[in-house]
Symmetry: C2
Subunit: 485 residues, 2 copies
């Protein structure tokens, strides 16, 4: 990658060659997968992911000027020379992803469709009333309508949230207008969940079992919990943002860890990974195989489009990703978490996002002034990023409780607090670092280059996610009396 | 409505009062429908359609300035004073529609969800593996997964095409890039069709039966036919466009006629409409009831959002609808046509669009020069619309075959052809009216006001659609030996 952002909108010869090689290889795999009687969906998904990567990579490059013309452009503030680059390129990823997922449908259900419609069962009849035809279909082969419904419900949720993101990129919608929309977008997911799983109980940790019993049925509350996850997911990515590559890099890490989690159930229990996770004694194929295949088929194309975007968004960014990408990525995780029935595992992988949200809350909810942008400040003299700050002007000091909180955070090393002696000789807070994980990291580690900050926070995400999975698999049995798989 | 376009972006007191009355009435109906054991889906759909109308009406007004700021604006060329007004407001309708349809899901499936999840069948188990839970669900109550899959596949198609329309409004995508996308968007529909109906035979008219037999199985070709319908639907609305209100008015007429067609199957056969259609002797409830309820539940909210848009887009337009609306409307018709299994009836209602497309073909395919806009020309002196023309400059005369075709159309009264004597004394074509139904209507009927042209073409649409339904129901039995319901 060239060190200075390039403005060209065509592929270099090397890029074109690489992309067409990948695309041809994937098309060959696709063609072979159809002829052979292999494990079609996973191979097809891999091939489609490769195509999604190539298509996104090329389209993001090609569409740059069109996006700029249409008003999707932004200035990279953390560079010595501020230039306008295309914004909202996540929309291209979302479009390619959704397109690929639609093309995937006939492959996933190919054999079922053939089995359900072949045998002349339906062809001879004209007044084939709907129910009658369905009955015949059922006798020949029971088409997995519930699987198709799950798949399509996920598509509807993803599409809705991607549209919300696009609208946000276009119109800058206010928080209160967009906050609940992801929960509505999750309605089809929740209906499918209610019908296919319907499990609303959570396993109670051993410590609490004397009070609550081994299982706690949350009933309707469980759906409220899932709706909350649906709201949290998209927003969590969106607020851990602001430096080149961070949105995509964290999403790639989370998606990879989720895919790793799926692999634990899909590999034979004697393989290394399941043994490491303590799943060696489990039955094979695992009863949750279907859920995890489903999850993987949503994650692989996501990784495809995300890696393509990362190539363009990594430092020095030549495009911005926009809210569309953040919302979209978060919703991919929510979809696989809910429909794969591992929303609690998902939350373990989102610990940095949860921390960032909780840490940001005082600014999000207005207790501490929240400037328009809270991303780290670029120091043009040193070329390094420093924590950005919110200032407390003379006339508007923090309220007593807020001041106490800020000072406590400062004493715990969780905030940079600058105090000054006022005219009355009393110390008062004049500025505090903005409450985001990125600024906190800079407070801890000192000023650093933008690319290094992205790398370190991404590493943190990966380390904490892996730790989360270890907790979930190796330590869960110590806390819970049974594994809730 | 005030005679001059208003630029206000807030509702008048009367409007606010009317909309809130409608909304409250609908909310009351919703609340009652949930308590009573009435025929829930249809009543809920009506109430949600009312809410969709109110929401669209208000949002279109409120969002005008935001759309203008985001670059969605256009100039109304057919007015004495040319002003910029918001463009692409169909996106608001599509968003409200899709939102309402998502909220509708739990209502449609309310009883099924309750029946499938109640009874404690799922609540007691924790290691409730997916298949096991599904089996239990089946024993308690077979959830209509296939109905949910149909519903969601329709949503996915609608969402995809609406996004395509939005992208077109934003980026002006080229024909060759967008042409096949609606066919891909229809993939989930076609999969559902293959599984649920799987009928690929068409009834052969009596005349041809000696050659072809009573039924002709089109096999895979039938899916190609449906994909073609999926491509034609969205584009057909988009090319019968260009004067205030025409896109929405034709869509409202088509949707109303489709709803009328549904009513024929839902009303008791002894009611007036079914008797008129010759359905008096049919069983009741009709075996296709489900398909037509499904169709109606997609059409009613569409009528809701469309009427709201029409209020703002009718002459003199205060907003433009954009490609989003045209694509979206066409896809609503395609969805109900395919999943309701009456795609051929749908084509009967689209006769003016089919004529317009065939008539336009020479310009669309480049045989005749095609200017950027082909809408009728506004004569500022008379205040009337006249046919717009394409000119044949001196050096570029039409090719022989094209010239013959144009002259023939001119002789048949299907084109205005202006000829001139060249320097060599030979007559040559200098200009021809643009090949659209709107221009043709003006050639036939003479210049007229914009509002009158919209009204007359809408009336034509309604008359031809009604005639189409009469052909379908009263005359079909003369041509076909059995009714293909």
């Amino acid at each position: 990658m060239s060190p200075s952002p390039s403005t060209q909108s065509s592929l270099t010869r090397n890029e074109a060659l690489t992309l067409s090689t990948i695309a041809s290889a994937c098309l060959t795999i696709l063609a072979n997968a159809l002829r052979e009687d292999a494990d079609i969906p996973l191979i097809v998904s891999l091939a489609l992911s490769g195509l999604a990567f190539s298509a996104s990579y090329a389209l993001i490059r090609w569409l740059g000027p069109a996006f700029m013309r249409a008003g999707f452009r932004g200035v990279d503030l953390a560079k010595p020379v501020r230039r306008e680059i295309p914004e909202g390129m996540g929309a291209v990823c979302a479009a390619v992803y959704l397109f690929v997922m639609i093309v995937f449908v006939p492959f996933v259900f190919y054999r079922d469709v053939v089995a359900a419609t072949s045998g002349g069962g339906n062809r001879d009849v004209v007044v084939s009333l709907r129910d009658e035809a369905a009955e015949r279909g059922v006798f020949l082969h029971r088409f997995p309508h519930s699987k198709l419904a799950s798949y399509l419900s996920a598509m509807v949720s993803l599409h809705t949230v991607a549209s919300l993101g696009l609208a946000d990129d276009l119109f800058d919608i206010r928080w209160r207008h967009k906050f609940f929309i992801p929960a509505f977008a999750a309605i089809p997911l929740l209906v499918v969940y209610a019908v296919d799983f319907g499990v609303t109980s959570v396993v109670v940790p051993r410590l609490l079992q004397p009070c609550l019993g081994p299982l706690l049925d949350l009933g309707g509350l469980y759906y409220v919990y899932m709706a909350a996850v649906a709201i949290f997911g998209p927003n969590s990515i969106n607020i851990l943002a602001g430096i080149n590559g961070i949105e995509v890099a964290q999403s790639v890490v989370i998606a990879s860890l989720l895919a790793l989690n799926d692999a634990l159930y899909l590999l034979p229990p004697s393989a290394l990974l399941p043994r490491l996770a303590g799943l060696a004694g489990k039955p094979y194929p695992h009863p949750a195989t279907d859920s995890h295949l489903f999850s993987l088929s949503f994650l692989l194309p996501f990784l495809g489009v995300s890696l393509a975007l990362l190539c363009h968004n990594a430092y020095p960014a030549r495009v911005f990703v926009g809210d569309t990408y953040c919302y979209f990525a978060g919703t991919v995780f929510v979809v696989v978490g809910i429909l794969g029935h591992f929303s609690k595992t998902l939350l373990l992988l989102l610990v940095p996002q949860i921390f960032n949200f909780v840490y940001s809350a005082p600014q999000l909810f207005g207790l501490v002034p929240c400037p328009r942008h809270r991303m780290p400040r670029f120091n043009a003299r040193t070329g390094l990023l420093e924590p950005s700050v919110t200032t407390w002007p003379d006339g508007k000091p923090p309220r007593k409780a807020v001041e106490w909180g800020l000072r406590t955070l400062g004493r715990l090393g969780l905030l940079r607090v600058v105090v000054d002696k006022g005219e009355d000789g009393k110390e008062r807070i004049v500025e505090t670092s903005n409450l985001t994980l990125l600024n906190l990291w800079l407070v801890w580690r000192g000023p650093m280059k933008e690319s290094r900050l992205t790398l370190e926070v991404t590493m943190l995400q990966a380390a904490m996610g892996l730790a989360g999975l270890v907790v979930r698999y190796r330590l869960a049995l110590l806390v819970f009396s049974q594994d809730n798989i």
